[in-house]
Symmetry: C2
């Protein structure tokens, strides 16, 4: 039997809310056994870019990471957010070690090929190398990974944190029984964004497609669910989408992908 | 006999000069055996602060790290500089892992007590915990440490990189034969700042005091030498002050503390 490993992905909204973040980190600190945290960035990077006079570039509603915006993302995610999380976890007695995908070459990516749109320094993952995670985890260090990767040719890249979480969970599932937990502000996947109590408790890929077509599942959830099912179908034991309450109470509402 | 460990401290001037930095990192990549890099920050943080409308606060010629300046330092040192160095080293085939003192709780510091001057979020080192360095080094990862520490109570702190280098060298010398190499823009300690070829090849603590009193050694060198002799007197095998040439040619001019 493999050792259990909890992988917690903390959304950007929570990272940028000091009180909510503290609550999540305290709950994470309480999790027994091997664990790994992955965090997004979000509003702080946008605010920093604005302060620096860098205007976000959007094409078809997708953000473009130009060179200036990449530097902002690295400073915000790998600098401020990652080190705040690490120092808060250290305070809670968790021996956290902050990482980007460049550290220990743990996430190799490739700059997204230019087809219709040039996404700039957006990185598509080509390989997760688990050596640094395993080496740290075995010695009771807790990896804290942010949404920056690299191409192993000196170029840092910006990669979606939900995708990183799924890919890391898949790679780690070769050696561990992995529970991947997407922690965000809602109790789970909702049938009505205005009714936070209407949580879908168990969700199949087929139901997801039907709900999406019917406009019941919010568009913003679709990539997260795509990543979640991808993880589930590639060796991850359990994928949960919920909020911090689930970490504290096993009976709290949540969405489990099945 | 202990294993050899090279600790290279790279000064802020070099970190901020892309070509000089690449040269240093290529030379560092060529060093055989266990190694660890420590880097300062410098001009990028000052420029970033200026762009953000934060004016550096100075008291008696010493920089004060207020809350805004600390965030800038964390973003610049732990974010941009550290991750640029890590990704460049990865390109050179060095399996680098970037760290602050908060990561793996490797450098615990205390906010400098307020006596005459309140230095703000300046951290004085109270303990170096070598566990994360040893754990990484044994598995051929190369730690890359920047000048940010923490108080293990959730507060990040700004600490002088030369002091970090000396303290880490001392702590690692219990298990390794450590060579501490302060790499900066000059070939060594000079008897005349305008004559870069006048390198003092061997320097004792007594000579340093005499040269300093006589105004021969530049004031800016004094803290570095103080840190260097501190390391030498506390178990570090060799302390060298020089530039990148020494890494490439054992016969290049350098200052060795004796």
């Amino acid at each position: 039997m493999k050792t259990a490993l909890h992988i917690l992905k903390v959304g950007g909204h929570l990272v940028n809310d000091a009180i909510a973040l503290q609550e999540v980190l305290a709950a994470f600190a309480g999790l027994k056994g091997a664990k790994l945290l992955i965090h997004g960035g979000g509003r702080h990077a946008t605010a920093l870019a604005k302060q620096l006079g860098i205007s976000p570039k959007m094409v078809d509603g997708r953000r473009i990471t130009d060179a200036a915006m990449l530097e902002v993302a690295v400073m915000s995610y790998a600098g401020l957010s990652n080190k705040k999380i690490v120092s808060q976890l250290q305070k809670q007695g968790v021996n956290a070690v902050g990482l980007t995908g460049a550290d220990g070459n743990c996430i190799e990516a490739v700059k997204r090929p230019v087809l219709d749109i040039d996404y700039g320094f957006a990185g598509d993952i080509i390989q997760v190398n688990t050596a640094v995670f395993s080496s740290l985890t075995i010695q009771d260090f807790v990896p804290v990974l942010c949404a920056i990767t690299h191409d192993k040719n000196g170029q840092l890249l910006n990669t979606n944190a939900d995708t990183i979480a799924a890919q890391v969970a898949v790679a780690m599932s070769k050696a561990y029984d992995v529970t991947l937990f997407y922690c965000f502000e809602h109790a789970g996947v909702l049938t009505d964004i205005n009714k936070p109590e209407d949580v879908i408790s168990r969700l199949t890929k087929e139901e997801t497609e039907n709900y999406t077509k019917a406009g019941i599942i919010h568009q913003g959830m679709v990539p997260k669910l795509h990543n979640g099912f991808d993880a589930l179908n590639n060796g991850v034991k359990e994928v949960i989408i919920s909020n911090v309450a689930t970490l504290l109470d096993a009976n709290a509402p949540k969405t489990t992908l099945i």
